[in-house]
Subunit: 213 residues, 2 copies
Amino acid sequence: MIGLIRVFTAKDNEVLQSHGEMIQKHFGISVLSRSIPDQPLGIYDDESEMAAIPKIVELGIELEKEGCRLLIISCAADPGIQELRGRVSIPVIGGGSSASLVARALGEPVGLMGITEGVPPVMKDVLGDLIVGYNRPEGVTNTTDLLTDEGRRMALEGARSLVNKGAKAIVFACTGFATISFADVIRKELQIPVIDPVESEGLIAANFYKQTD
Amino acid sequence: MIGLIRVFTAKDNEVLQSHGEMIQKHFGISVLSRSIPDQPLGIYDDESEMAAIPKIVELGIELEKEGCRLLIISCAADPGIQELRGRVSIPVIGGGSSASLVARALGEPVGLMGITEGVPPVMKDVLGDLIVGYNRPEGVTNTTDLLTDEGRRMALEGARSLVNKGAKAIVFACTGFATISFADVIRKELQIPVIDPVESEGLIAANFYKQTD
């Protein structure tokens, strides 16, 4: 079993399970999802990240005790990944590092998209010179905005503007697009590869998890 | 279809197809394998690499013309990857970069193994501080040596010595181990993950290829 950490306090079970279910469906591995306590808004600045890290570490330690053989921190910023790696004896995979490294293997210029102010440092570090730009769709500040026709239209416009800047692939710099399967929309409309943190962490996690079955 | 470039002149069809067949079997994508002309010994020093690069580029251009939608340079050194990327309009995946980036996503200290003098620069660049050591099994200078009981014993010893140095995973710095499925031997005997360039290039290539079916 793989343990998956959501870095916010999930309001309901459907939201909690969404990343894990996508990974189970795509890669055929069982996932146990848990979310950190008392942070309904998740991580949105340095302070909230500092508050989340010890909770992420504690949750990871628990998940290892409960029998998980690999952990995923399901967030594009890889919050607490070094801290957790230092505290458990099983591998820890991060959404941001996985997506960036998978994108780097493609070797093409990429456009990044997100719904927050900037690009997580881990993604900037790995992708560096391959980044042609970052787009935050106009009027979109949370994943709910992406559920409207207008939100989707603006997000698709954003992806198109990155292609016009020379991007040969789109990398999502947040996991919010995964929940609404926005990668498939871009693939269909723009016919280019999309690298999604949830898909990427699943790809990498499954690759390692399946080796020692 | 994916085009796969072998960076030596294959003596027979079985040898030519071996990497492609492994990728087809593991990832369910069709692969067309070709080898560069007039280099039966492949790439073994700077001069032979310089000789190979224009042939790799030419072969890649041909494979794109024949309808391939993605190319693989199936070698741990990624020879000619930048040159080829500059000449075709489809993605080019390298064995060395794919293996290193997949290993980096695991985030654990790794031991590298190969049958040549040193580690390909592309792998050193990506893995850097994660490398605990490089092992070339004693008495093993080509893949044929790995087919003997003694060769396999020495290679397994080599892997074990890297684990003793702190490696949590083994990364193959050449594709020669793939042909003999040596990754499975290490996984079974040492119970640790193994990152093989042929498996990794297949994982990455399939991930992108399947997006735009």
